[in-house]
Symmetry: C2
Subunit: 238 residues, 2 copies
DNA sequence: ACAGTTAAAAGATACGAATGTTTAGGCTTT
DNA sequence: AAAGCCTAAACATTCGTATCTTTTAACTGT
């Protein structure tokens, strides 16, 4: 088991001082776990033990544990011999928590575009490497949808997003795929405003279509060099 | 206000059927919001109204609302005239939610490395563009720390992570920076195991050091081309 | 009119109790 | 001794209630 030390003893370390009792307890527990140098799989205790030690109500302790679980620190197992355990490291959970600590600044559309472009090559190369017959059929269908959508910019953007999202789903790298799709989702929900007034030279949209056509062909052929070239065109030609 | 329709009416749409009443309510509310085509800033109602409509307890409704807030769907304002409102789109919150839906598959270390490498150029170019005097001083300090850490692989890895993390903090792109740091944090916590048995040719570590030296110099000089070249070396020479 | 004060509306947090679910290990039956 | 049932231990969910904090509209006194 582990024993919680007095909150006062660790008060000078606290940076963002927690606002609720549950948060405070979560911080205390995390500090104690780190201090004790506990490793994944180690048994931490049971909810009732924590409750007895702290004198807090069940719901409050439960909330603290929920926070630690969401941060990927603890794993909770019900049943006999169950309780709280140190969780194995999980990149997705960690990433989520890191994102949670990001101050809610007005992260701009430009930031999202930069992030998306940085991932474009990885995502599309993965697609070229791992595409299945189903993937290929879907991509062909979405590409012809993109061509049909050339009539209006709005339809084109929508078809465009659908195509890129489907490509991202091919990648076996769930982290990269999730980040990419999340970024894409944001862009699709926020770009309606500043795109409409874009008169765009006549050839612009058909040019965009040809770039996507080349990209899809490269993916279907599994030609990674061609994918890299198509991505380069896709990113620079904006 | 908006009116919740009967759960039966929408049952056929539900894919991942929610397990708790709170989750079910959150799904119903989200569906209703989408169906009604509500826009950011729109007033949805108050907790008590939802409670009256559904007959659920305060804690349950509160939990559903907490979920929707975490997903970046709702914004809650206390006080007179307050209540639940549609939240403006926020990329960080969205990204977090997307990550939440990722199935908890054993996302491999290799995936994390690929994601990190994809972001390396963006992060380091941003650093070269936006470094301040404080940043430069810190980087110089961390670089000499890296040199001193050449004695043992473990110390070198630690110093290496500290340097990369500091570089990432320079970028004004909070999303990209958060994703990068999260990935780095995972790698630093999980790579202790499979690195120790690496006997490494004598020149390997000093070679790694020289690459980082070149990278830091390029960032300090604001030379983006040199940054790109250093990143290329950094990524390929593993 | 205007500035300061007050009070009501709304959410946030915490509590304790009751009930449901999951799991592991023991027990029973063949 | 193997198969399956049973039950106690642990977490999960929900409820109702009480108290606190925040916000803003209304009021009041100059």
């Amino acid at each position: 088991m582990f024993k919680l030390s007095d909150p006062e003893k660790t008060a000078h370390v606290q940076v963002a001082l927690p606002r609720t009792r549950a948060e405070a307890l979560a911080v205390r527990m995390e500090e104690e776990i780190i201090r004790a140098g506990m490793a994944p799989g180690d048994w931490v205790g049971t909810l009732d033990e924590i409750r007895a030690q702290t004198g807090l109500a069940r719901a409050t302790v439960s909330e603290a544990v929920r926070l630690l679980r969401e941060r990927g620190i603890l794993e909770i197992r019900p049943g006999r011999g169950g309780g709280l355990f140190i969780a194995p490291p999980n990149p997705v959970v960690r990433l989520r928590h890191t994102l949670l600590t990001v101050r809610d600044t007005p992260a701009t559309v430009l930031d999202a575009i930069a992030l998306r472009e940085a991932l474009e090559e990885l995502i599309n190369r993965d697609a070229a490497r791992h595409r299945s017959q189903t993937d290929i059929a879907d991509l062909k269908r979405l590409l012809s949808g993109l061509q049909r959508a050339l009539k209006t910019p709005e339809a084109f953007m929508r078809a465009n997003w659908a195509l890129h999202e489907r490509i991202a789903e091919i990648s076996p790298n769930v982290m990269a795929s999730a980040v990419y799709k999340g970024t894409l989702g944001y862009l699709s929900s926020s770009s309606a405003e500043f795109r409409t007034d874009d008169p765009a030279a006549d050839g612009y949209w058909s040019g965009r279509y040809r770039i996507h056509e080349a990209l899809v062909r490269a993916i279907i052929n599994g030609n990674e060099n061609a994918v890299v070239e198509a991505v380069r065109q896709h990113n620079t030609a904006v």
